[in-house]
């Protein structure tokens, strides 16, 4: 399919409380900048002209109905979409730290070290808890046992898991509960000291108590990391995020401070979604 682009719909995006010039200023200081992004799966367009900026140490939540493209966008940030053969970016750029991450010079591995990711289904490796955390460092060639021990402890503490597992670091990670596994995955991500952590519906497979713990963790993490979280659960978005972006049919409908989006949505589609009229 060639470029049979529709009328740019991104123009409709209204950014709350920000004038054009202010937005530009924000763009230059923001950590992630997305400009006019069009994304395709084969001949099917999945994202339409996305423009989005995210600031450092801020939690941004992506909400929207299934198949609206929020996960796809998330996976663009660390180029996980490269694994899908038919996926391609047709147009537009993504800058992180001011670098175009899709350019030839980018080492995808270095990128992924800086942009960590937590998946929908917790996926610890069938190794010990210790090995799971140390994996990221070990593949970078860190062999010093002392450093590894330190990092493991720091990360497990960071993920509020240390007290629960400190006695069984050498047990298989698959023996943990679902919530623990997910927090282990977050801890594992932290071990490679990323700047950004992407979370793709991290709580969708967890029970409410485990979810609460993960959410608590996100609250703590945002002092150190920039977090982008995709969620189906609007309450969750309201609880954990500073900003919220609403996607619908591959388009970014509305972006704003979380309170504004939930209390006072500008777009009728956003309102309809938030009030549960579709979803």
């Amino acid at each position: 399919m060639t470029k049979t682009k529709e009328e740019p719909t991104g123009a409709k995006v209204e950014t709350n409380n920000m004038s054009n010039s202010k937005q530009e200023a924000a763009a230059s200081s923001s950590l992630i900048q997305i400009k006019d992004l069009d994304f395709f799966y084969g001949s099917k367009q999945a994202l339409f002209n996305i423009n989005l900026n995210m600031l450092e140490k801020e939690v941004t939540a992506f909400i929207g109905p299934s198949g609206c493209g929020k996960s796809t966008l998330l996976r663009c940030f660390n180029r996980m979409n490269d694994l899908v053969d038919i996926a391609r970016i047709e147009n537009g750029t993504i800058h992180i730290h001011g670098h175009d991450i899709n350019s030839e010079e980018i080492d995808i591995i270095e990128l992924r070290k800086k942009v960590g990711m937590v998946f929908q289904k917790s996926n610890p490796f069938p190794k010990s808890i210790y090995e799971n955390i140390a994996y990221g460092l070990k593949i970078q060639g860190v062999k010093d046992k002392q450093i590894l021990d330190e990092v493991v402890e720091k990360c497990l503490r960071g993920a509020a898991l240390w007290e629960e597992v400190k006695d069984r670091l050498n047990e298989n990670a698959l023996g943990m509960s679902g919530g623990q596994q997910q927090r282990l995955c977050i801890a594992r991500t932290m071990a490679v000291s990323p700047n950004i952590i992407l979370m793709d519906e991290p709580c969708s497979a967890l029970d409410p108590i485990a979810t609460a713990k993960v959410e608590e963790l996100i609250h703590e993490l945002k002092t150190k990391y920039t977090i982008v979280i995709v969620t189906h659960n609007m309450q969750q978005a309201a609880r954990v995020s500073d900003k919220t972006a609403f996607f619908y049919m591959g388009k970014l409908i509305e972006l704003g401070k979380t309170d504004d989006i939930f209390m006072n949505p500008k777009q009728s589609q956003t309102e309809a979604y938030i009030s549960g009229k579709f979803g």
Partner: protein
Amino acid sequence: MSTQNPYKKKFSKNKVLESTWTWIFRFATYFIILCATYLFGDILVKGSKTIFKPDFPFINTTFLTKSPQTLHVFEKKEIMYQIDDLKYEIEDAEIIIEDDKPSPEILNGLNSKILAWQKEIKVLDKKRKETRFLYDNDDFRELEEPPNKKLYKHSTYAYSGGGIFPAIAGTLLLVIGSMTIALTLGVSSAIFMSEYSKPGTTLNLIRLSIINLAGVPSIVFGLFGFGLFVIFLDWNVSLLAGCFTLAFMVLPIIIAASEESLKSIPTGFREASLALGASKWTMIRTNVIPYALPGILTSSVLGIARVAGETAPIMFTAAYALRDQLPWEDLENIQDFFFQGVMALPYHIYVVSSKIPQNEYTQSMQYGTALVFMGIVLGIALTSIVLRIKMRKKYKW
């Protein structure tokens, strides 16, 4: 009160039918097991007579360490004539019983006579076994004076003396060589197909042809190996030609099984690894191969059992019916090692069971070889089955 209980057990035709069929199916199952067990038992019992012996070290070391030789047997003529005479007597008596239809008294007399003769034969036979001399070819040549020809009947049986060590060595070399080739090529191809190549028609076509080639009869692979290696590349009947032929035979199986076990690893492991900043190769090395390895190992153990057990592919590519030297003896240079024909256990069984008659002297070689061979192959197969059962329990994701 409870006379009208509708749930009470009742007799019905259906129930009889059900239990009849259950018994039929059960019979089928146990009949198979019985047949197989009889086969195992027969070879085990008769074979262990060759391999084990009652005195120290309890294992017939000659059989396991020597080359096959002609067996020389010397039996006392006197005893043999006696046995023959008695056999004639019995035959005559039987003909009389058959044709003349004698009166009951005579019949009884004859029958008891036959019984007595048979007993006598047994005694004589035992004596014959005690007095006979058995020599391997080597021993026979070293004899200063062979037993007196007037007293002893001298008979020879090809392949029936000595042992089977060259065949064991040959089989091991063939297995090692072919599995090295097959695993290197097969596992690498599987990694490429499952991790690197793009799915599409070409890959499906390749996969389809590999599955189909796995079902091609082994003799066709033998034919191919003969045409390509032995004739076209002029390697002659050699270890190398046999290794390659066997390797190609198991290649489809190894590729298919390795790909299967690579595929069974959840994509989550791959994604998580990549998201942590692993390069593709690091991801494969640390997070794919280690988890696929047990599966690959199981399939390759099964491949070993297949390679070791096949006869047809090596019949005219690698196997010699008889070769005294061991593969590493009398070598002028290194390549001679690869370009020599070897003995192999399966081919040896074929030779001793089809080319020499079945009698008490040849039997020990036949059953002994069969037992050793079956022991090796089934041992490998058992390892693979046990491995797989263990793995199923251990790895569940």
